[in-house]
């Protein structure tokens, strides 16, 4: 396989000026990250700072209602409330070993921005976060968190003023400043080696889940389900299960309001192959190759591209990608809150909503593990307004 590719997808379609830092990062992954001392330090941080391993929770109430075993991998219990911290602690530690003094990051909903600001504060690195001007307004609460953690938030006013434009801005920043700066990319997207780096750092989710499940149940689950924005929690959850062909892997994308032609975020389900942000993958785009704006109730799923490894797993048929609408996700959010006492992130609610749809289709002894990628506190305002709209 060609370097940096997953089958036909991936690669590094980045400006020539970004190749030196990309090669430097690739080299650091091999030389530093693969080494014993780094791994020991990372494990220590994941254990004592992030709070790993996160619980694998058996939803007894919901399982009774659904007629099969429903389990949640509780990434919402990780520090800062989502899986994003696994990636940022790892990248920040790597950056520090590389002698970098500053992290630059993009953020959509603000979760990755908060996780980057957190890791930067912990490890004594400066932190600049680019955020679409739309999102700065929509997610004001996370802007405040980042600033309290000492990060500088830079609103991005160009293009659609959302996540994809924040990534453009962060890449431009990295072109201009690379000596002292590491680009802490927030999902399994971007030019090689980022999809690999982010997968390596998120794979702890699936490794733990597989181990926990086997200890508790003594075999493997039938299905593993995760939501897919850029694809980092999903690839982290899937990776350990990929070699176990009997486990069905389901990635859940956001279908927005579900109307045909609605600007949704279901890249793998409805997109076409192209190049965005340095990688060959499935994209929401026009036939002329212009990138379309995406939309989802879940800000973290609002991205017109997807990690190249998911495009590959889809092409291989190893993972299946399905869609869930805003309304279904919202219903999933409410049901988990009322039945199990957990407020899930709206992103994670998409994965959950898919599992809920499986009621009646699986044997009683079947087990489904859902990656609950984050907690819902960040989404209270969006949920409040959506409920008002539904009632009104």
């Amino acid at each position: 396989m060609q370097k940096g590719y997953f089958g036909d997808f991936g690669g590094r379609f980045a400006p020539e000026l970004l190749m030196p830092p990309l090669l430097e990062l690739e080299e650091a992954m091999e030389r530093i990250m693969a080494g014993e001392p780094f791994q020991r330090e990372l494990t220590d941080l994941l254990t004592h700072f992030v709070g790993r391993p996160t619980a694998l929770y058996h939803c007894a109430n919901l399982s009774r209602e659904l007629g099969f075993g429903l389990w949640l991998k509780r990434e919402d219990l990780a520090h800062t409330g989502a899986h994003k911290i696994n990636n940022t602690v790892g990248q920040a530690l790597l950056a520090k070993h590389m002698g970098k003094t500053r992290l630059v990051a993009e953020t959509g909903a603000g979760q990755h921005g908060v996780a980057t600001a957190t890791a930067a504060a912990l490890l004594g690195l400066e932190c600049i976060v680019y955020m679409g001007a739309e999102d700065v307004v929509r997610q004001a609460h996370n802007v405040q968190r980042m600033e309290l953690l000492g990060a500088t938030v830079r609103p991005v006013d160009s293009g659609s003023r959302t996540l994809k434009d924040a990534i453009n801005a962060a890449m431009r920043h990295w072109i201009a400043e690379q000596g002292n700066t590491h680009y802490c990319l927030g999902s399994a997207v971007g030019p090689h080696p980022f999809p690999l780096l982010v997968r390596e750092l998120q794979a702890v989710i699936g490794r733990e889940a597989l181990d926990q499940f086997q200890r508790r149940v003594g075999r493997l689950p039938e299905q593993v389900v995760a939501c897919v924005g850029g694809g980092s929690n999903a690839i982290g959850m899937f990776h350990a299960f990929v070699p176990h062909a009997q486990v069905t892997l389901i990635g859940v994308e956001a279908a927005g309001d579900g109307s045909p032609g609605c600007c949704h975020s279901a890249t793998l389900s409805t997109g076409t192959t192209g190049v965005l942000h340095g990688t060959m993958t499935k994209l929401l785009q026009t036939v002329e190759g212009q990138i379309l704006a995406s939309h989802s109730l879940a800000p973290g799923l609002d991205y017109p591209g997807v990690g190249p490894e998911h495009a590959h797993l889809q092409a291989l048929g190893r993972a299946q990608y399905v869609c869930v609408t805003d309304d279904q996700a919202l219903a999933g959010f409410m049901r988990l809150a009322r039945t199990e006492g957990i407020l899930p992130a709206l992103e994670s609610s998409h994965a959950l909503a898919y599992a809920l749809k499986l009621a009646g289709t699986l044997p009683r002894n079947a087990n489904v593990v859902v990656c609950l990628s984050g907690r819902g506190d960040k989404d209270l305002e969006i949920v409040r307004q959506a409920l008002l709209k539904r009632e009104g």
Binding site: K3, R12, F13, P15, P20, S158, A176, V275, E288, Q290
Partner: protein, 258 residues
């Protein structure tokens, strides 16, 4: 004479005791009609090579001026197909060499093979793909070369001698040296280390070397004149058109001062 029309264009300018002048304008800017008028005017004013920007929604190598211009073109439904069609029709009246400069995705969606054929038919002499580094360039380069279209590499201040040599082995036409560590957009001054970096690149590349990004006045070339064969002006030209509505004598200082 070399086998590359672009190399010849630059060599001719040098033979006249000046640097090749290479204006850049996004296709369809500021309007579809005005754009072709501006191209004709740039050609008449003595441009040696004209770079036609292919608008893309997410231009990561560009600064705000070029990005705004590209988005303005997209609003008018400028497509690669339209650009190639119009160019085919107008090419016989244009003296300058023509380079298409854009990003991978619109080229990819058009189809690299079809693009190589149609670009050649339209009289484009070269292609610059801002997000196509050395590692990914072999496939597109081969397709383009089969149709006599040069794939122009971009290199910069952080390109190692090894990378420069690897580019030099493959490149035809000319090499585009990015003057700053950053995106397109006018700069007051160019970095100090530029002179040494250009001297090194000049020694490594057998083909002409053009300097671009940040240029707005010939005085910026002080100290690097001897190692630069051509100059590219983009954001400065866009700004000039924004404020005067015409190309006017934008190129004059670059052509006469040398």
């Amino acid at each position: 004479m070399s086998t590359s029309h672009l190399t010849d264009k630059i060599t001719n300018a040098l033979a006249q005791g000046r640097k090749a002048v290479m204006p850049y304008l996004p296709a369809g800017y500021p309007t579809k009609e005005a754009f072709w008028k501006h191209i004709a005017d740039l050609d008449a004013a003595g441009a040696d090579i004209i770079e036609i920007g292919i608008p893309f929604s997410d231009p990561v190598a560009d600064g705000p001026v070029v990005e705004q211009a590209a988005l303005c073109c997209l609003k008018q439904n400028v497509t690669l197909a339209w650009i190639l069609e119009e160019l085919t029709r107008r090419r016989p009246t244009i003296q300058a060499g023509i380079v298409l400069m854009g990003y991978m995705n619109p080229f990819l969606q058009y189809g690299m093979d079809k693009l190589a054929r149609d670009a050649a038919r339209a009289g484009a002499n070269g292609l610059i793909i801002a997000d196509l580094p050395l590692e990914e360039s072999d496939g597109p380069r081969k397709l383009l070369q089969e149709h006599g279209v040069d794939l122009i590499p971009l290199v910069g201040l952080n390109s190692s001698p090894e990378r420069l040599r690897a580019h030099a082995e493959k490149a035809t036409g000319f090499v585009y040296f990015v003057s700053v560590m950053g995106t397109t957009g006018v700069r007051e001054t160019l970095p100090e280390q530029l002179q040494d970096a250009l001297t090194q690149a000049k020694q490594i590349f057998p083909i002409p070397l053009a300097l671009g990004f940040g240029l707005h006045a010939p005085s910026q070339l002080q100290g690097v004149e001897s190692v630069v064969d051509g100059v590219v002006m983009g954001s400065a030209l866009i700004r000039h058109i924004d404020s005067t509505g015409t190309v006017g004598d934008f190129l004059a200082p670059w052509i006469s001062s040398q």
